[in-house]
Symmetry: C2
């Protein structure tokens, strides 16, 4: 499939017209965006929804300061993991009762990998991908360090594909929907089917897809999923992550991080653990309420928009950027690291160039915010809820200028210290 954005390539005026016709254009007003900034890092930390400020003020000044412990019941603090989980559910194609917001992505992955292994006790292999966001790999190391009969196999190491690695020993496959570095989008429905055909379970990491493209956890038959709320769901810095457990597994799934928030009767203070029914058993300890309250406004927006419209605009934004960059920046040694096929691409564009770190610093000085991921990758994220076609045009112009003028050579843009 290709996307025709040729008219937009012609001029900034054409981009202005596209902005005027954009069905998502009015969403931009719902975010606080710093003056003059073009923010292409929503794939790292989303900007603040204006309503988040209201929710947080209420949570701090009223619920904590005035109402104190009564807010655990009266302001719904205790149920926030479920309340927020129910808000995310439709955004990722999950029916009710399968999702909570709690802890971090890393911790939720640990819980789900353990649970999946428990559901396939006769099997001993976990498959992941060498190019996963590293914390996913590190967590699998943690699991194998405590369960020493379990082994890890990685797609991509020695060129191995999932087909080659799947066999009757595989208990669980855990993959990322969108690659954090390149933006490559995997065909999850197909991979889940292969995994199930081999008798294994599938855990999906949706950190770089939830909120920016259609995710269909139920329809695709995903068994478990984890995801991030501070990127495209705009939940605030480090806002807690979510975990999805398909209804069919909930009764048998064991959360190894069994704390009182996952107990059937937490306020009976019983000595023995009895897991709550349903998804609640994937809770562990007390949750950071202020960070949860900051997330609500972002989810209200995500719920209100049509993810198909979001995806359509996202594909047009990334296509526009990469075509502008290819036609203007190729001569400066910039190469595209993301898939050219928009159907195989998430909502970010990765470019490689030798001096990527300095180039990104020069762009940031021009108030165009993108980021750098070692080794050599410049990442540009395109969040359709608040970005305009003209922003993409301006960012591509600026990048071209930084490269043409060699502005990046300035001392202030050089790496101050090694990444250690």
């Amino acid at each position: 499939m290709s996307i025709n954005i040729s008219s937009l390539l012609e001029s900034r005026t054409a981009c202005e017209k596209a902005d005027a016709a954009d069905p998502l254009a009015n969403r931009r007003e719902e975010f606080h965006l710093p003056q003059g900034l073009i923010y292409l890092d929503g794939n790292s930390l989303g900007p603040m929804p204006k309503k988040a400020l209201e929710h947080l003020e209420q949570a701090i000044r009223n619920e904590w300061a005035e109402e104190l412990i009564s807010s655990w019941n009266n302001a719904g603090w205790w149920e926030l993991p479920q309340t927020l989980g129910e808000m995310i559910a439709p955004v990722v194609g999950a029916a009710s009762g399968q999702l909570i917001v709690s802890d971090s992505t890393s911790l939720n992955l640990y819980k789900t990998v353990h649970a999946a292994l428990g559901l396939r006790p006769e099997r001993t292999v976990i498959i992941s991908e060498a190019d996963s966001f590293p914390t996913d790999l590190y967590i699998l190391e943690g699991v194998t360090s405590t369960q020493q009969n379990i082994q890890r196999r990685l797609v991509g190491v020695d060129g191995d594909s999932l087909d080659e690695l799947l066999d009757e020993n595989v208990a669980v496959v855990t993959l990322s929907h969108v690659n954090f570095r390149t933006g490559e989008l995997l065909p999850i429905e197909e991979l889940v089917k292969k995994t199930h055909d081999a008798g294994a379970l599938f855990i999906l990491d949706t950190c770089h897809s939830a909120g920016v493209l259609p995710v269909e956890l139920d329809k695709w038959g995903v068994d478990f999923a984890v995801g991030c709320t501070y990127k495209y769901l705009n939940g605030g810095p480090g806002s807690p992550a979510f975990v999805y457990v398909a209804k069919r597994h909930q009764q048998a799934a064991v959360n190894p991080l069994s704390g009182w928030w996952g107990h059937a009767r937490p306020f009976a203070f019983e000595k023995d653990f009895q897991a709550a029914e349903g998804i609640i058993r994937f809770q562990t300890g007390t949750q950071p309420v202020l960070s949860l309250r900051g997330l609500q406004a972002g989810l209200e927006i995500a719920q209100a928009v049509d993810q198909k419209l979001v995806r359509q605009k996202s594909q047009r934004l990334t296509q526009l950027f990469l075509e502008l960059v290819e036609s203007r920046c190729g001569e400066y040694g910039v190469t595209l690291q993301s898939p050219t096929d928009p159907e195989k691409r998430g909502s970010q564009v990765a470019l490689h160039c030798l001096n990527g770190f300095a180039v990104i610093q020069a762009l940031i000085a021009r108030k165009i915010i993108a980021d750098f991921r070692a080794p050599g990758i410049m990442r540009f994220g395109f969040a359709p809820l608040y970005l305009r076609y003209t922003d993409v045009w301006d960012a591509a112009e600026a990048l071209t200028d930084v490269l043409k003028t060699e502005e990046w050579r300035e001392e202030r843009f050089q790496q101050k210290h090694e990444v250690t």
Copy 2:
């Protein structure tokens, strides 16, 4: 030891005088306390320090809304777990480099129990206490569910004491400094010594002691500790917990929840996990920044006060309350569940009475906030940083009145639904 508070028992005027002479009296001004409320539930959720509002406004309006991802470096977000850990360290008698704020108490206990077992690989028993806060027991069940050779023994079941349970199979003992229900304070230094004499390691749960009485982790030889920040450290609802790992164990200790925040080079995005040096390896995933920023002000206050003065006032407040209650409420079937010896008592007083739930509801209606813990325990917490002797007097008067008039019999104070 006994504490002479006989002069205070005489009249409210005597209590007013004691307030006027209280060296901690001016600390009260640093908290936002709702008008007319006597807050005896700081052992559950501390009130908001006024400065927390400033920090949070800065974090939300400036760091998130305006500065966005640059705040990870420029506002010190990335280092918050360590920055805040260093602030708690002196409050619990720990030298630098041994404490971080991260995740929940339950999760930190899971990390430390695993680490302790790893340091005693030839041993297979964990000792805890039957009357621990239940999440501690539930987490131990989680550990034993993944490491099936490990067994749990509980102090208090069948009347067993630590002495009787300690033998050469015990890897680790985990106990609470102050009992969450009765307020009983354990002699930790002595228990650590016994534990070490048996060749085992000691994990201390300081949830109900940190910030309200002197804790000496280093001096007592504690190996690992966990603790809560939203009680006596006034960090805000569900603010992340802390974990302490004694320097001598850090090099060999393995955190099973090995996420990217615990990696030696998190931004090198390496495929294999290599634990950071020092306490940082006990970090896991991305932390909830807003909840961490809400905690700073409470720690600034805790650092600034002399914990010995806090303890002294705490003992006088609890002694005053229990003597007032004993002399006035005994005839209504109220019995003391906390130790009478102030040296064996934390900063709370537990009372039992058959209609405890309704009595607490009647007190709350009178704006005296305490809580109920099944079965039958009325808990009154006394946080010396913002409570006055007159508050104690008034609370005891109100309790007496509720019992004498049988106000608690009113329909509105009866339990609406079972704790399920």
